[in-house]
Symmetry: C2
Subunit: 133 residues, 2 copies
C-alpha cells in the first residue's frame, strides 16, 4: 500500500494521492484536516466500515450511520492521543444487542486502525439507535 504526499503551497499544505488516484488534502497550517485529525477520521471510518458489513450480515436494516470521534492528547511532546472516544449514531430498525455486538467486534477484533492506535490510546465507544432520520 502506497501514498504520495505533495506540497501544494510554500508551507505545510499537502495533497496525498493513493494508488487508484484518489486524493485528500492534509495541512499543518489550518487550511485542511490535520494529521492527528486524520487519525481520528481513520479510526472512525475503519470501524464504521466493519460495522456496516457486520450489520448487513446480521440482516439489520441500517439506513444511515454517523460517528462523533474525540481524541484527548497529552500535553508533552510528542502529543500522542491518550484517549479516543467514538460515539456511533445508528439510524434504522436495529436491535440494541446487534448494534453493541457489531461495534465491539469492530473495535476489539477487526479494525486495523483501532488495533494500532490502542497501543497508546484508550479506545472507548458509545452508541445510540434512532429509528427515524
Amino acid at each position: 500500500m502506497k501514498m504520495i504526499l505533495e506540497r501544494i503551497n510554500d508551507n505545510m499544505h499537502f495533497k496525498a494521492t493513493n494508488e487508484a488516484g484518489h486524493t485528500h488534502e492534509l495541512s499543518g497550517d489550518g487550511l485542511a484536516v490535520g494529521p492527528m485529525e486524520s487519525l481520528l477520521s481513520a479510526i472512525a471510518g475503519c470501524s464504521t466500515i466493519d460495522i456496516v458489513m457486520v450489520l448487513k450480515k446480521m440482516r439489520q436494516e441500517l439506513i444511515d450511520i454517523k460517528v462523533e470521534v474525540k481524541g484527548t492528547r497529552r500535553e508533552e511532546i510528542p502529543r500522542l492521543f491518550t484517549k479516543i472516544h467514538m460515539h456511533y449514531i445508528l439510524i434504522g430498525n436495529i436491535k440494541d444487542k446487534k448494534a453493541k455486538e457489531a461495534i465491539d467486534l469492530s473495535v476489539e477484533k477487526y479494525c486495523s486502525v483501532s488495533k494500532m492506535l490502542e497501543k497508546t490510546a484508550e479506545i472507548t465507544t458509545s452508541y445510540e439507535i434512532r429509528f427515524e432520520e
Copy 2:
C-alpha cells in the same frame, strides 16, 4: 480534538469534518482514500510538517518537498502495518547533514503520528536532495 464522520452513499463512503469545517473523504469501497491509506498520509504529513519547521529554523532553503510512503500489512486480521517506509524528496539548497537531522528529529522525537504507529510498525526513512526542480 473532534471529527464528525457522515455517510455519503448507502454503503461505505464517508465525509469527515473537523472543528474548523474542513473536510476530507474516506472510503471502504474504493471511492476515496481508505482508512489505512489515511494512516500513511497522516504519518507522512505529520513528519513533513516537522521537517519543514526544523529546516526553516536551520535556515535551509527548502523549495519543495515530496514523500513516498509505503506500508506493509500482515496477512492475519486485524491487518496491521508491520512496516512503514517514508522516502523524502527534498528540493532546494539543503545540506545533507541538516536533512538527515531534520528527518531523524521528526520521526524519533516530534511526530505524534509516528510515535503512535511505531508501537506496531517498524518505521524507516530514506531521502534524496535535489538542487533543481
